[in-house]
């Protein structure tokens, strides 16, 4: 071994290196130091030094072109490692103008890596790209097309479009392929600019070269996603292509790990899934080939599983077919039973797709699902939560949401926390079994992820509490409200609460704090004052709190009781009256003002529990007409709308005004003139008057006069409008669980929802979880048996089930104990259902049952095999010579990734033969070793030698650098 290495070194000294010739000593030194840097910080230091030297040298006059090429590559290096190399961009752009392919290619590489498509320098490159697209040398055309994909933006598309379209008919397949991809990119950038050229994609689908055909599938996939119906005629073509691929009609070079063109198969399956979705006729054409695929796919290789997974996706997307669904379910269960986490993950995903069609499929995988949920692998866990989210029903919502919340509390990733919180809220709204539970769940979500959830969720919650559950049961509604008030008063004791949650609490306490008579007004007001003090709350919370206090005071006054002002409340008012926030000031003054009103006025201004009443806004302010009339009669100038004003006033008018402004910048010593008795401001009046129109239909004149009386108290009215401002945000938000009531356009949205469901589930298969919620009640009871079965199978078995399935016997007794523990389920569920539900209701211990019944897997995990190939763990640094390892593993690897028999000499022959046929004239002997297959001891020797020559030694800082990636 030592000998070999020495020989290698000597060889290197003699021939001056193998693969890394052509670069200067400096560059090799740079690479060496980067390769051996021990830390990111050290690497950064090296690169910063490098950038400084490059900045100096690149600006020198008359840098030789070859030298410049190297500088550019070094700049790419610096930029790749996260440093700014923008000073060199212009030199990279210049390099694209070069005539030599080598330099041009480097230039294009650099600009594609440096520049985004909106960079100012792009305009300098477009011309070059245009020229190069017309080049006779197809390699230059290819380089230009690659650059065009990255750099051409919406504005510059027209400049190159004609040439790119011409290239679709280029004799070289490599060019056609890239032209298709470029056109695809243009379509993504700006669909309108290439819309007239879309037929070209259809033509290229029939290209003789499978590579071009495969590339064409990418744009077609996008086009079909955007508009399925225009491409239905292609279903048969796609099916026949897929059939030909699976029958190995494509050239052998497209095989990958013994699979015929799997990447093309996957793309085709994706397209077919789109085309067959909700289309019985199109799906009919697809069934056959899918069946074949399920039979043919090797589940022992990773790529085979990738195709299988895509088949499952396709089956679940197209019109259901019982036979295929069985095959898909079988493959899914293989995935789930596998030891490989990757396959489990895919299995969970596949299961999520299949249960949309047939919820029963989940039943047999309950343990696998629960295992995945308990798995330490976060990715798998999240995927499983996604599955649970899809299969949530009113029967299992409690367990699922509880689990989700537990997980939500345990993670730090804010992005995912937000997502899972909104899912919890959504599920709770749709399926909540009882008001109590709903309020508690929302409290938990708010307490732990309060500032992450959407503001609309908070508004939604307030609305829910205000409106109740839609049934005409006032008792239940007030019960909900008082339970909310109770829980909020309890929660307020906690030290730290998110601002959004505090807003909800303040609002609810203000509206309903004293409505059930359990708490006195002063108690609630005291609590609200505490909120503003104890929690370092922001202005919004303070505003909510002070408005809530005002409401309570108003209710008290309206009820004829005397409001005694607590000292802390008075100090709060004082504090806010002097606040920097005008909003808070306003509210404080409003509160003070409302305290002085008589009970009748207060009742009109602040009616009890009227947060759900609609406000009609009279935009024309017609109620002011008489007032305006009066003023005009008295000689006031008529109002001119803003839009017409500019033409009315002359410029000079403005000018003088500004001059006056300018001159008045110095201190003014004379007193300000007294404010003229202005007409009452319009804004407060709108809300007061409209509010009144709502409640009591009074003729305009009357309330106008009323207004005049009250015009000294604009704050009050404003407060009420502010309160209703909250409500206004709720438009379009779903109101409550169980029914598709949206605050606006409710009828249309719900009906379209139903329609979708109707189309996708034609077979009368029970509707998917969320679908049911939108359905009428009659159907719900019919489906509930189905639901219970699934819930039981997932989170505890009902008695009937346990007899059938020996595997689940262990669960039965526990489920029964769970029944005993659980309090009866309240709410709208009928007693008999609730009984069954209780029986099937899960207890947390059930979820730990996984161990005894874990199924043994029969499939061999491809990743395990591959991991074996990757070799020992990186900790071992015994690999100081890449030569020996590569020699030893040679035969294995050959079998793995060559399609020719693993005799190296013959494969070299065939590979180089190919190349010779392609470019006989250009081919040089030097290239043969570069493309021959598999590891070659001579290569390794040479590499080793060069590395040593440069100074990087396999025994140095970073021996890992020398490990074969595939070894």
């Amino acid at each position: 071994m030592e000998q070999l290495k020495t020989i290698g070194r000597e060889l290197a000294m003699g021939s001056q290196g193998g693969g890394w010739t052509g670069q200067s000593k400096e560059f090799l030194d740079l690479v060496k130091s980067i390769g051996e840097a021990r830390s990111k910080a050290e690497e950064d230091r090296i690169i910063l030094r490098e950038i400084e030297s490059l900045r100096r040298r690149i600006a020198e006059p008359d840098v030789p072109r070859r030298r410049m090429k190297e500088y550019i590559i070094r700049l790419v290096y610096a930029e790749m490692l996260g440093h700014d190399a923008s000073f060199g961009y212009i030199h990279a752009v210049k390099m694209t103008h070069d005539d030599s392919l080598s330099l041009k290619r480097t230039g294009y590489l650099a600009v594609t890596l440096f520049l985004s498509d909106d960079h100012d320098l792009i305009i300098l490159i477009v011309n070059t790209i245009q020229k190069d697209l017309r080049s006779d040398n197809y390699l230059i055309v290819c380089a230009a097309l690659v650059a065009a994909c990255k750099l051409i933006n919406e504005e510059t598309i027209p400049a190159v479009l004609p040439q790119v379209v011409d290239l679709l008919a280029h004799p070289k397949e490599a060019v056609r392929k890239k032209a298709v991809m470029a056109l695809h990119r243009f379509y993504q950038r700006s669909p309108a600019s290439v819309s007239h050229l879309i037929s070209n994609f259809r033509k290229r689908l029939c290209d003789n070269d499978p590579g071009v055909m495969g590339a064409t599938l990418c744009p077609l996939f996008d086009l079909i996603t955007a508009d399925v119906n225009s491409y239905k005629d292609l279903v048969i073509s796609f099916v026949s292509i897929l059939k030909q691929v699976t029958e190995r009609r494509l050239p052998k070079v497209y095989d990958y790990h013994q699979m015929p063109a799997p990447f093309i198969q996957i793309k085709l399956l994706k397209i077919l899934a789109l085309l067959g979705s909700g289309d019985k006729q199109a799906s009919g054409h697809i069934y056959n080939v899918l069946g074949d695929l399920f039979r043919k796919c090797e589940s022992s290789s990773n790529i085979g599983n990738a195709v299988l997974y895509e088949c499952i996706c396709c089956v679940s997307s197209i019109h259901p077919n019982a036979k295929l669904l069985d095959a898909a379910a079988e493959s899914t269960s293989k995935f789930l039973k596998s030891d490989s986490h990757n396959l489990k993950y895919m299995g969970i995903d596949a299961l999520g797709r299949l249960i949309k069609i047939n919820p029963d499929i989940a039943e047999e995988h309950q343990l696998a699902v629960i295992d995945c949920l308990e798995d330490p692998d976060d990715t798998l866990k999240r995927k499983t939560f996604e599955l649970l989210y899809k299969m949530t029903k009113s029967t299992n919502v409690e367990v699922i949401v509880d689990r989700m919340i537990d997980y939500m509390i345990s993670i730090n990733d804010n992005h995912y926390k937000t997502e899972i919180a909104s899912r919890c809220v959504e599920l709770a709204e749709q399926f909540a079994p009882s008001n109590q539970w709903f309020i508690q769940t929302m409290n938990k979500v708010f307490a732990h992820a309060g500032d992450l959830v959407n503001v609309r969720v908070a508004h939604n919650l307030m609305r829910l509490i205000a409106e109740g559950f839609g049934e005409d049961d006032e008792g239940a509604d007030s019960q909900l409200r008082s339970s909310a008030v109770n829980s909020y008063l309890r929660i307020l004791g906690e030290p730290k609460l998110p601002s959004l949650f505090l807003q909800v609490i303040c609002w609810v306490l203000g509206e309903y704090g004293i409505s059930d008579g359990k708490y006195s007004a002063s108690y609630i007001i005291g609590k609200l004052c505490d909120v503003t003090e104890a929690h370092l709350c922001n202005d919004t919370v303070k505003a909510y709190a002070i408005s809530a206090i005002m409401k309570i005071c108003a209710f008290e006054i309206a009820a004829g009781r005397k409001v005694e002002m607590l000292p802390e409340c008075q100090s709060l008012i004082d504090e806010l009256s002097a606040s920097h926030s005008t909003d808070l000031q306003q509210r404080a003054y409003e509160l003070q003002a409302s305290l002085c009103l008589d009970s009748q006025t207060v009742e009109i201004v602040m009616p009890l529990d009227a947060s759900c009443e609609d406000i009609e806004v009279d935009r024309n302010l017609s109620f002011l007409n008489s007032f305006v009339q009066q003023s005009i009669e008295k000689g006031a100038r008529p109002y001119i709308p803003e839009s017409e004003r500019s033409s009315m006033f002359s410029v000079s008018n403005y000018k003088s005004h500004y001059q006056h402004e300018a001159s008045s910048h110095t201190l003014r010593f004379e007193a300000y003139e007294l404010p003229k008795p202005a007409p009452t401001p319009a804004t407060p009046q709108i809300s007061v008057s409209t509010r009144i129109t709502d409640l009591v239909p009074v003729p305009e004149m009357t309330y106008y006069t009323e207004n005049n009386q009250a015009s000294k108290l604009p704050p009050v009215s404003d407060a009420s409008s502010a309160d209703h401002g909250i409500k206004l945000h709720l438009d379009g938000v779903q109101k409550k669980w169980g029914r598709p009531t949206y605050s606006s356009s409710s009828s249309t949205s719900s009906s379209s929802e139903k329609k979708i469901n109707g189309v996708t589930h034609l077979d009368g298969v029970s509707l998917q979880s969320r679908g049911t919620s939108y359905d009428s009640k009659g159907q719900q009871s019919e489906v509930s048996a189905e639901k219970q079965k699934l819930a039981a199978s997932l989170f505890g078995a009902s008695a009937g089930k346990t007899e059938k399935k020996p595997t689940s016997t262990q669960r039965a007794p526990k489920a029964n104990t769970a029944t005993a523990e659980r309090p009866g389920v309240t709410g709208a569920v009928s007693p008999e259902i609730s009984k069954q539900k209780a029986a099937s209701s899960p207890s947390p211990d059930l979820l730990d049952l996984g161990e005894p019944i874990t199924a043994t897997t029969t499939t061999i995990d491809p990743f395990e095999q591959l991991e074996g190939l990757i070799g020992p763990t990186p900790g071992t640094s015994t690999l100081d010579n890449s030569v020996t390892t590569s020699e030893q593993k040679a035969p294995d690897l050959m079998a793995l990734y060559t399609d020719t028999p693993p005799s190296s000499s013959s494969s070299i022959g065939s590979a180089s033969g190919d190349i010779h046929s392609a470019d006989k004239n250009l081919q040089m002997a030097k290239n043969v070793p570069a493309i021959k297959k598999g590891p070659n001891p001579q290569d390794s020797l040479q590499k080793d030698a060069t590395a040593r020559h440069v100074g990087v030694t396999p025994t140095g800082n970073n021996p890992n650098l020398f490990r074969d990636l595939l070894g």
């Binding site: 670069q23 980067i34 490692l81 990447f263 995912y416 650098l961």
Partner: protein, 160 residues
Amino acid sequence: MIHFVILFSRQGKVRLTKWYSPYQQKERSTVIRELSGLILTRGPKLCNFVEWKGYKVVYRRYASLYFCICIDPDDNELEMLEITHHFVEILDRYFGSVCELDLIFNFHKAYYILDEILIAGELQESSKKTVARLIAAQDSLAETAKGEAGSISNMILQSM
């Protein structure tokens, strides 16, 4: 669609990055930092996928080098793993027993190869032989040019 491809070493050092969606330089650094932190800490037996900011990142380790591909949530993860492997196999053919050092010294060549496999975030060519043939053609053309340029500059040098 593939949004980016990143190669980094076990020490978290970047070896190659290719961005198919627009990312500012600052975002790029953040992405790399976050992802290398996320992926390097994962145990050996876990999934080769991580969900990240609404995307999925498929990674695979070869010796001391991690190959990461960021994709949309509805893409096929197993396929992406195989695209990675496809890339590595082509690198292996090109360099002959490719190792990390090859990619450090010849990262621009790795870029050329990647450009032949992926374009605009999509797989453009799934035949190893076709890719190898194109790269060889480019290299040979570049070599010829280089040879000529070299001889000319040598002549100039000698005459001076």
